[in-house]
Symmetry: D2
Subunit: 316 residues, 4 copies
């Protein structure tokens, strides 16, 4: 049976200013800290069920040292290892417990040199009595501090390599479905939005010839339930002196956004809400042309600066 | 390969007062009419991609004459027919075109005698120029009239037969996953919420010893993007003289709701928003006890009358 | 020149459980504490400009020991004292500084024996550097903790004395305008909503023959900017184990509400949003009959229990 | 007794493309049409109590031919006429009925040559049975069509004349209170926000040395109850091909906005929500410096183009 990815699992963030990154993600954004082990802070949103969806540790260069994907079955971890090796990809095993709460896992470089991790076993840690929700199906109480998003949502990668090759790898080797894409007149892709879930994207990859490398992170994203919460988030970010763009609405995905920069690591965080779900098994990917690209990125609202030099990224 | 259900497809509503039901669903709720064929009105929400998610025709007794489920693959229709027959279930083929836009399909009675339909082929009809969205990934413009929900969401069935048997059938024969349930001290289920998608439920089934039959419909549901839209919906329903309960928030599913009654057919429509998604492949169903049932149904807000006699249902 | 009231100023709350009341108003509701003087805690919402809009001190019986009204001009304080004395009302002067931040003031009993205070001078205290807003026209940052209402809104009083006499006193002696009222067939009033501002009511008074006294407080109210914030408030209240009714929408005032009980003092707090403003100088009061009273109280949503015995009140 | 203004009454819009302006204001924005008399269309929002708050007629040049202010008392109309004449201002009487629903009124030019109208008598027209609200205190049903704002809010004027003189006239001759202002280093004003109501502004006036004349209209504004409604408005405007800027939040007034252009007349319409109210009788105007001006205009969100040439205005 072909191994399958079930979901985006977590981000391993390295920050040159750990104190500031923890302030940003814990106090301003309002993530909960599960525990701190060996200097690594394990965080999650109030509605995340796994031990963590974001880990942060100090380092000399800010980056995502891995982007982790959970498989559908325990045996899929080995099966993915086999199929990737068969495809010529080198893998590196991560011993159980190397990341707190996590079982057997391995990491590998995508053709673009982004570092991915594959795992299945992860503790579904209960919240502490102090922050636990009264609801049995909810991990922590919501609205404890700051923006208070519900859960991890997606990752958006940038590369100086053509998008199509990356998208093909994600489809062929990892089973992602293409949902929406921007196509240049020469048939190349400028961006591709892909998922294994009904979300329009668990991952997006974009081509930027001026990107500093083949393996950049444009942003990581967490989800809010209501668009109104995004407006509340804007107030909170502004009062805390955080630089952000938005709110606005994407054409692609129909979702609303704010893009805020973590002042510690420089990683861009998208706060994301609304949008549509794809339940159709025979979905025909939505194709956007160059002419339609602007409305695809920004249907309305405050838009990102299109110049690369104003949009620093970090590596993954 | 085992056949699989991809999603809830549509409801076939029969109304003793077609004019009033059409007014309710088209003008007050704001569904769009794809077409009218042989006296059957085919409706969908602005974000539904298929030809219809609700059909309404006149009849002598109001009921859902079928609840339709779309398969993952075309060949799953035959495969389901085989597996159900092998299980002793009688099936009845529905010729392509019998329902506008739909290909080969069949209907069968669940053990509770609810009528289900299985299909794969359905036209993904474009909206007319007048109501088409400027967005390529959206069918109709939103907010044309009334409440304006985005899409079909789920169905909630009621039966005088024990829930567990019904739930077992849905799990074993149709591949649904149990997400949350209410368990009586004797181990029987009073309600079960199940899905094939990451929604907490595509279908819920409840046990009521006083239900008029084994095959009742508690409600059908459509989805709104934002909780604020639910408050706007309350204003619209009230101005139109529609009876409803809510707004409120469920503990089970964490979703917000209004329950409105179609004055034509008497079917209860849940307008539904927020809540959580289940991406974990190893989800452990949430068990609610009798003591916790009240908070499970109504976490806060205006609640449904618990007496069966105040809660008329229609058959399916 | 006739003295005039400009606005509702503040509430002087006495609580039999000061610790619990402070937890409720500071942590759950999210009011800011300006200072604590002589055991009195002075609180306000983030958008309140005056030194305090609520003071809380410990006492043997929970009550509002005064409801304070600010005059339009400094000299109106003396003028009100004169006109009330001329009308046979006894007044009691409150020395400047008796209440922190406040200048010359006096208290008196309304004909219903509710204790009112009249003042003009009050310090417009800046927020501390830690909680100050970056906006020059806003006192504290919003969303620091809990529900986080913007400002004080109104007070609702209950009496076993007829409403009309109370309403007449408020109109004739204090200059309130009648905005909406409920009239019994015999011409008596069951409730009256009155204001000196364009708010539909700064004060409401209701008649209940079963009220424990002539001078009860039904609720005090704080304002939220958005209805969505009310739904967020419901989640916060529920997670903190606070008893509340709502959310719902009043017909009278068109505003949305939650009624929560302070577990310390037992005072009912209305969290209030939306509704209309009255700018017309020739407003004709809206008259509601007994038949219309239900929709006047609850247009839709979760309603208050109508039985007095389930609705404990505190005295003022 | 000094005459007083109670509120902003209505706008008299002249459009070079009446059909398009009516489509914009009636279908897209969703104003209700009270009646059409002599080619003039009289409109209002669902929560406006007066006969109209906007009239639209065809003309060769788009402009506001008057901005009307309601007095507090009937006799204030004559009193204003006297005081303005005494101040050297020419007035022109408008016979009762010249504008449908309106009694005795007069028009005059402000020192900036903007045309103002003063009136007291205006019919408070009931809504027709078809669109009437079930609520006694609400004129029309809300949410009948389009954006569906509740009521008229304010007007924003632009002039090539210094702001301070205009602001002084409004304060001294008409009784407006200065609420917020932008001051240049030389003590001149670049903008002033003023009101007779607790709204932060019923009128704002700005100085632009490059304005095409001394008597321009920057925008007229209508009010929405909730910020979420503004996001819904953005979707509606976009689907209808209307050019707009926003959503965003002002620092000055703390209100959220969208600025949309009527494709018929070119007038800019601000859709406006949230913000604060001023109940303090001794309000100290908030002073913004040039350095703070940007945050004053746009606290966050999509901002207006600051160049005059991209911001066409119409005359008043």
């Amino acid at each position: 049976m072909k191994p399958e990815i079930s979901k985006l699992g977590h981000f391993g963030l390295v920050s040159t200013d750990l104190v500031k990154s923890l302030w940003f993600f814990k106090e301003v954004i309002g993530l909960e800290e599960t525990e701190v082990v060996n200097g690594v802070h394990y965080l999650r949103a109030w509605g995340d069920f796994e031990h963590h969806t974001l880990s942060i540790r100090a380092g000399e260069e800010s980056c995502l040292d891995h982007i982790a994907w959970r498989t559908k079955r325990k045996e899929d971890v080995d099966a993915f290892a086999e199929s990737l090796k068969a495809n010529g990809t080198e893998i590196e095993w991560v011993e159980p417990g190397t990341e707190a709460g996590q079982g057997k896992a391995f990491r590998f470089k995508t053709p673009s040199q982004h570092t991915f991790e594959i795992y299945f076993e992860m503790e579904k840690t209960l919240a502490s009595a102090e922050t636990r929700s009264v609801l049995k199906n909810q991990t922590h109480r919501s609205w404890n501090r700051g923006v208070s998003p519900r859960r991890i949502d997606h990752v958006n990668l940038l590369s100086s390599l053509p998008t199509k090759e990356f998208a093909d790898f994600l489809q062929e080797q990892m089973g992602f479905n293409l949902r929406e894409y921007i196509e240049a007149p020469d048939g190349s892709y400028l961006g591709a939005w892909m998922s294994v879930t009904p979300l329009v994207h668990d991952i997006a990859v974009s081509f930027d010839p001026n990107a500093p490398s083949t393996h950049e992170v444009h942003h990581i994203a967490y989800w809010l339930d209501n668009a109104q919460d995004l407006l509340r988030a804007a107030d909170i970010l502004k009062e805390n002196g955080i630089y952000f763009k938005g709110p606005g609405k994407h054409g692609i995905s129909q979702a609303m956004y704010i893009y805020a920069i973590d002042p510690g690591s420089g990683v861009r965080l998208e706060i994301f809400t609304n949008g549509y779900l794809i339940f159709e098994p025979d979905w025909e990917p939505i194709r956007w042309t160059l002419d339609e690209m602007d409305i695809g990125f920004t249907y309305w609202g405050d838009q990102m600066d299109s110049k690369t030099e104003n949009n620093p990224t970090i590596k993954a």
